[in-house]
């Protein structure tokens, strides 16, 4: 474990020794705490919610949150924290909820996570903090850390009590951030809190990255993202939209304009294609296009908004990740009679969050496992009408540790469809690599970094999030940005 992390963990352990925590712990015996059942997240009925784009989960009430918080044992050596990429002091914030200090709980989370309302909704907790939880290991049902995180930050937002931290005197250093996704936003927040002048350059017309163009409203309301962005602006971060670094100006141009350090958080914007026959037929979409039309451009509100989004009756989405789930559930909401996921492995290997898979199933999505498309067949006008698939079986594990799918000879079959969305993955956005001289790039087009500092091969230039990882997660992007912020601050302060 890194030294810095060890120090943070020691601090977290120490906080558990405060008197009020010891008292609280004694109030309910561990055995009793383990008997409390996990509070089910209130959610809208499947038949109702799959007709619109409003949020599915409704959030815990104050009483529910306090009850859920009682399930946490306040372990002396909290393993959950180690499962969290940004090391949130989980037991502290949960215990603050238990005693009704919601505002303090929210503040505690914000010490290390600048987008808690987002993370509470989209993090794969079952693989991270909740997978390490002692209660999970003992009973199989973890403390609902994600739901509690969401509760605390929603409570703070709704209360209107969000405080702007005090900003130290200006250091006179200028930082340019490329991309306003979770990575860029996090870095901007960290650097502005250290007294640097920060400008974010964003290619699209709204900041937020995948949070606004990719993840749909029913999972993450845009208003939450805009409030987080607003919070950064109030701290003094400048955001310039419609500015494509590499095109409108290069990193070298910006350096000449007086920027001292750079952070590249330009994401994984390059869609991958299946490379099967018929991919350019009408009615065949990349997930990026389909979701951008729906979310960023609000195509579901067409024609009140001008960007059309196809409304189809039979929809097939290729892929098994969160992106695929978002596409297929959107298709259903846009009026599809039948919508399916086609995935080449089995349910167990699906990379999507468990909650998304469960929600999709409830909403009437059909899952076709161990199946891959081989070609798309069009009608005489060039619109897709059928998808030809082949059955797969699982062989030996590949480099990712998942069992490799192998086609079963002669098992081809066809499904009739009028819309196909390809959600098989994205690659790092090539724009910055192509327009920045001297930047070292890996074989997938990712920017190479020193993982301890997130420094690239160019002095004063850092990178993090999907541009270095390929399609990963919000929290990993934020974790990268926190590492980069520390290193960047050292770099700036050691400059003459």
């Amino acid at each position: 474990m890194e030294e810095k992390n060890r120090a943070e963990l020691d601090r977290i352990k120490l906080a558990a020794q405060e008197d009020w925590r010891k008292e609280l712990k004694k109030k309910i015996p561990t055995k009793e705490r383990m008997k409390i059942e996990r509070i089910k997240m209130p959610e809208r009925e499947p038949e109702e919610r799959n007709q619109d784009f409003f949020e599915v989960n409704l959030g815990l009430s104050e009483e529910q949150a306090m009850e859920e918080a009682r399930r946490c044992l306040d372990c002396p050596n909290p393993q959950c924290v180690l499962g969290c990429p940004v090391l949130i002091d989980i037991p502290s914030f949960i215990k603050l909820i238990e005693i009704g200090k919601f505002r303090e709980a929210a503040k505690k989370i914000k010490e290390t996570n600048s987008l808690p309302a987002v993370c509470g909704r989209v993090c794969p907790q079952e693989l991270q903090c909740e997978a390490q939880c002692t209660v999970f290991k003992a009973t199989g049902v973890s403390v609902a850390i994600g739901n509690l995180e969401r509760f605390a930050s929603d409570w703070e937002r709704k209360s209107g009590l969000v405080e702007i931290p005090s900003i130290p005197p200006p250091t006179g250093k200028k930082v340019a951030v490329i991309g306003a996704g979770p990575a860029g936003l996090t870095l901007a927040g960290e650097m502005v809190k250290m007294g640097h002048q920060v400008t974010i350059f964003e290619a699209l017309h709204y900041p937020g990255g995948v949070l606004v163009y990719g993840i749909p409203e029913f999972r993450l309301p845009k208003a939450i993202v805009y409030e987080e962005v607003d919070y950064l602006k109030r701290m003094g971060v400048e955001i310039i939209t419609n500015f494509i670094v590499g095109k409108t100006a290069t990193i070298d141009d910006l350096r000449k304009d007086g920027y001292d350090a750079f952070f590249i958080g330009s994401g994984a914007g390059l869609p991958m294609f299946m490379e099967v026959e018929g991919e350019n037929l009408n009615g065949v979409y990349s997930a990026n296009e389909y979701l951008t039309r729906i979310n960023l451009m609000r195509g579901y509100d067409f024609p009140r908004y001008d960007t059309p989004v196809p409304r189809a009756k039979r929809v097939a989405v290729i892929g098994g990740g969160n992106v695929a789930m978002d596409c297929v559930r959107s298709a259903k909401r846009l009026g599809a009679d039948w919508a399916c996921i086609i995935y080449r492995r089995s349910k167990k290997e699906m990379p999507a969050r468990i909650e998304e898979i469960k929600h999709a199933e409830e909403e009437g999505i059909e899952f076709i496992f161990l199946t891959a498309p081989v070609r798309l067949i069009g009608d005489e006008k060039g619109w897709v009408k059928e998808i030809e698939c082949i059955k797969m079986e699982l062989g030996e594990p590949d480099s990712s540790g998942r069992r490799r799918p192998i086609p079963v000879k002669g098992s081809e079959f066809r499904i009739s469809v009028d819309l196909v969305v390809n959600a098989i993955g994205q690659r790092p956005n090539p724009l910055i690599p192509l327009t920045t001289q001297g930047l070292e790039i890996g074989k997938w087009g990712e920017i190479k970094v020193d993982w301890k500092t997130m420094a690239t091969s160019l002095p004063g230039v850092y990178a993090g999030g999907d541009i270095v990882r390929g399609g990963a997660t919000v929290i990993l992007a934020m974790g990268d940005a926190r590492v980069a912020a520390r290193a960047m601050n050292d770099y700036l302060m050691n400059q003459s």
């Binding site: 290619a203 699209l204 017309h205 939209t241 419609n242 500015f243 494509i244 095109k247 409108t248 100006a249 914007g269 390059l270 869609p271 294609f273 991919e279 350019n280 009408n282 009615g283 979409y285 990349s286 990026n288 296009e289 951008t292 039309r293 451009m297 609000r298 067409f302 024609p303 009140r304 908004y305 001008d306 960007t307 059309p308 006008k381 060039g382 956005n429 090539p430 724009l431």
Partner: protein, 276 residues
């Protein structure tokens, strides 16, 4: 931001607009485009940059009113501001000393061929610019284009001015008259296709500026994918200029028509909004 400094209807249904966009004006090169959003509810539409003034921070776009977005754009007045404008996007046109270059513009492409003719001329080429329209009243910018061309040819379907007839015959005549080293074409997809087919037998490299549907314009959505020599390319980053002899025109025309139904619905909605 993005204030409209000057607006003209250059011919019926085609408008030119000078817009304040200093960062774009500073950087743009011939053949590049911007993505424009009229208002918060608008579509993101690509428009080629037809001229610019780096000192004053202005760019000029020329567009034809076709769907609801260009119609909304046309309704804006001098002094109004666009909601969003991003660029310069796309790879610039390849400008070099080829020798004699035939630049063809039709429709909005009469405007957008201008910076290309100009750059080719500055590079020392002999530039023949051919403007194509149905009738004389649909031609514009002749004075501007004359200044940057060694020869300016006008072609109208009805013969009201210049040569009469079809663009294929005009191209053939020029090619037979003198040695042409390269052809550049801007305008509607149909013109691009016809011009490419005409030059193909002569083996003259013909560069066309494609205009498929786009959203982000930075290579993210892939809606602008076109098939070039059997390979999938993104018009927004790999283009918009491509070798006209390598374009799969059938797929391109088919993909352009994907939203005809919605386009009609959107227009109807806009009309209703205008009335009420």
């Amino acid at each position: 931001m993005y204030k409209i400094i000057e607006k003209r209807m250059v011919v019926p249904n085609i408008h030119s607009m000078k817009i304040s966009a200093p960062a774009v004006a500073k950087k743009c090169l011939p053949g590049q485009f911007v993505i424009v959003m009229v208002d918060e509810r608008g579509e993101r539409i690509p428009l080629s940059i037809a001229d610019w003034n780096r000192e004053e921070g202005l760019i000029t776009i020329v567009f034809m009113e076709v769907g609801s977005s260009t119609r909304k754009l046309a309704k804006l007045k001098e002094g109004d501001e666009l909601f969003a404008l991003a660029g310069p996007l796309g790879s610039p046109s390849e400008i070099s000393r080829w020798g004699t270059v035939l630049c063809i513009g039709g429709c909005y492409g009469i405007g957008t061929i201008y910076p290309i003719s100009r750059a080719l001329k500055e590079e020392g080429n002999k530039v023949i610019t051919l403007l194509e329209a149905r009738s004389s009243f649909l031609l514009y910018w002749q004075d501007k284009l004359k200044l940057v061309s060694d020869e300016l040819l006008l072609l109208t379907r009805d013969g009201t001015v210049g040569l009469k007839g079809h663009v294929t015959t005009a191209i053939k005549e020029i090619i037979e008259r003198e040695k042409i080293d390269r052809v550049m074409v801007n305008g509607c997809t149909f013109l691009l296709m016809v011009a490419s087919e005409t030059t193909r037998p002569f083996g003259i490299k013909t560069v066309v500026s494609l205009n498929p549907i786009m959203i982000d314009g930075t290579g993210m959505c892939g809606v602008c994918r076109v098939s070039i020599a059997g390979k999938t390319k993104f018009a927004c980053v790999d283009g918009p200029d491509f070798d006209g002899h390598e374009v799969d025109w059938e797929t391109l025309l088919m993909r352009r028509s994907a939203y005809l139904k919605e386009e009609l619905e959107s227009l109807r909605f806009l009309q209703c909004e205008e009335i009420f």
